[in-house]
Amino acid sequence: MDLENTKAQMRKGILEYCILSVLSRSSCYASDIIKELKEAKVIVVEGTLYPLLTRQKNAGLLSYRWEESQQGPPRKYYELTSEGREYLTDLDNSWNELVESVNLIRTR
């Protein structure tokens, strides 16, 4: 068994969930999402985030708009679509179930 790989697989699943959770509060610029995820230690390198954002956008969970920036070229602002909100509610439930299941097993 490869410990690093197992850890990476665990993180991979929750990373998508975390992105949607961050965006559920307000629409964000990619750097804002990165900042939160880094503070929460779910990502180490930023490059991991971009393919996920693009995949979620392609799946219709996110949309983005270009917003003028004071300091330079327009920036991409991401926000949840209504489909994304439903998806997130489902994930919220399944996350709670998972935590419960794991706790049940660990405290036995």
Binding site: D2, E4, N5, A8, Q9, R11, K12, A30, S31, I43, V44, V45, E46, G47, T48, Y50, P51, L53, T54, R55, N58, Q71, G72, P73, R75, K76
Partner: protein, 196 residues
């Protein structure tokens, strides 16, 4: 004194040292290869470039107007090398090789009759496993050599367990070069395992 190059990243214009420019170019090329299998790879790359422009901008001041090698390394450490990305995505370098057409012979447990040796060889060379089985059967009739070879291959060949291994198992067209290469590879790995 150094020569600088003028580049456009994410809609920003930068002056960058020539050596830093080659490093940056190499990095972006590697990322392009890394994301080549993604559906919207060009979009991902342009997002990353925009972020890179931001990082570069934060490194420049009135007194420092040129992007140096240090700045490029700083940006790469934030964004991650393709290896970092693979590690974080939980795909090993081995899986990557598999998707790029790296092939090995495995025993195929899903289509086996005895030990999966013939099924594995069939899927590696993309031929019907029963052809391989018939050859082994004929060799077995001729003084039992087929049984011996089968037993050796059974011991030598690993079983395809993970998806990556199953992809690696599938294959290349039959030609002498591929066959000798494959056999050589297997014997090399056995030699390594036995520390000869």
């Amino acid at each position: 004194m150094k020569i600088t190059v003028s580049i456009n990243i994410g809609g920003w214009s930068f002056n960058i040292d020539e050596d830093a420019y080659s490093e940056l170019k190499r990095y972006l090329k590697n990322l392009e290869i890394h994301f080549a299998t993604e559906e919207s790879s060009s979009e991902i790359l342009s997002d990353i470039e925009s972020r890179m422009a931001e990082i570069f901008r934060s490194r420049l001041t009135t007194y420092k107007q040129v992007i140096s090698m240090d700045d490029v390394h700083h940006a790469i450490s934030i964004l991650g090398t393709p290896e970092d990305l693979s590690n974080e995505e939980g795909t090993s370098v081995r899986d990557k090789f598999a998707s790029q057409g790296y092939h090995r012979i495995y025993r195929d447990p899903e289509h086996r009759i005895i030990g999966g040796v013939c099924a594995g060889m069939g899927s590696y060379w993309n031929i019907e496993p029963w052809i391989v089985r018939v050859i082994f059967f004929i060799l077995a009739m001729m003084g039992g050599i087929g049984v011996l070879i089968y037993l050796i291959l059974y011991i030598v060949l690993p079983e395809a367990k993970t998806t990556a291994q199953k992809i690696e198992m599938k294959g290349e067209p039959v030609n002498i070069h591929n066959i000798t290469e494959a056999v050589k590879k297997e014997f090399d790995s056995v030699r390594k395992n036995m520390n000869l």
